[in-house]
Symmetry: D2
Subunit: 131 residues, 4 copies
């Protein structure tokens, strides 16, 4: 199943699409970058790069450690490294679980342009939502 971009306020506003259909459970987030997403350099704003990475990583954690996405996790901390500027085009972020347990899960992510250029990497810690 592909979660439609209308699923959350942010996904509608930014226009990204979340894909949870990968056989390995990892979740990807794809966004078409337009002038609406640019910073003062004319490239994709770093905060929005962090947003697609955070979304892909959190959804991956929820998918793999949260009973197939039923249990949500919230982000505790996120570190994003900006390796290359992202011009207009399509960016795809992909999450991966690296470790942790039931309540606290570690994940990493990478975001690439359509030509494969590595735009950013991230690591983060996610906490199981209670109640």
């Amino acid at each position: 199943m592909t979660i439609p971009s209308g699923r959350t306020g942010t996904s509608r506003l930014l226009g990204y699409v979340v894909d949870t259909t990968r056989p390995d459970g990892r979740v990807s987030v794809t966004m078409t970058v337009t002038e609406e997403h640019t910073n003062r350099h004319g490239n994709l704003h770093g905060g929005l790069i962090a947003t697609v990475l955070d979304t892909a990583m959190g959804a991956t954690v929820s998918n793999i450690r949260g009973e197939g996405g039923k249990v949500l996790f919230s982000t505790v901390t996120l570190t994003t490294n900006f390796l290359a500027p992202m011009p207009l085009g399509t960016i795809t972020a992909l999450g991966r679980v690296t470790g942790g347990g039931h309540k606290t899960v570690f994940a990493e992510g990478e975001a690439r342009a359509a030509d494969g250029t590595l735009i950013a990497t991230a690591t983060g810690v996610f906490k199981r939502a209670t109640g």
Copy 2:
């Protein structure tokens, strides 16, 4: 001077306002959080918290180390710690330069809700744009 929210694509899309009028040179970014900015928990998306922090920090660096904002800096790395969920309302991020030199500058930031609750802190490294 307050940079109007229309200054960049991202500031228009998200609706945040950048204020560079503080006497100490630190730059703040204020955003009214609506349902358009929410994550699956119904709170402000962590990536958008990172976005206002990144913007406030980068603009502070540019303001203080970049000839009053004439020279832009790009974000090399950004670490955001999410201390409390941010519900609908007004969030304000404020940057501060902590060190570094001419080309590489270190900054930190904090984002607070209107009632003063500390929502998130961040640290980052910024690099002077060349050419």
Copy 3:
């Protein structure tokens, strides 16, 4: 009370001293930097800067949130920013709790040379040890 440097294997090996006597509950760690602590640049190894910061931050969290140091916390993640090289001399790291709850606590720290130069800053997440 000042915890003697012999308290843990690492504190003995590196020779740092942990001071938990501050009225505000924040814990400082002081180390005399000798040639034993140097990297290939002849300055204090960045990993050892991270070590005194991690120690000060974790002990601060344990002191303030762990019943006066009775409950230990372990480090979940630590980000260290290296603002200036630290030559031979005395370095002091100081921790501060920034937020969080009972089990997960956020902290920051800064490390300064004897002349006040800010050598490094850090942020981290700490988890209450169970059992």
Copy 4:
């Protein structure tokens, strides 16, 4: 060539060995963990985990981007995620270059116990030493 543990003050003090002989240019750092390296939990101190990761990553950057190790790089920022406690035994950290250019290089690293358990991951930014 294996750089002997006596190469720097820190490598002598901690007793780690740096191996630069891998055909892919990545550098590993191996340390036998004894009670001298323990924290208050009786496990390897997190700061020392950061130290072997920082060393492996910085040496990898220097090896691959610094003319085979002739040019040194210094650490600008380092984020370490602590996935599992490391008891007494042998830990090995391995670096990898992920991107960047001539002066600023991005790297990641992972540290594993002898049985393959992933103990910690790290990302960092490294800057070419000048002069």
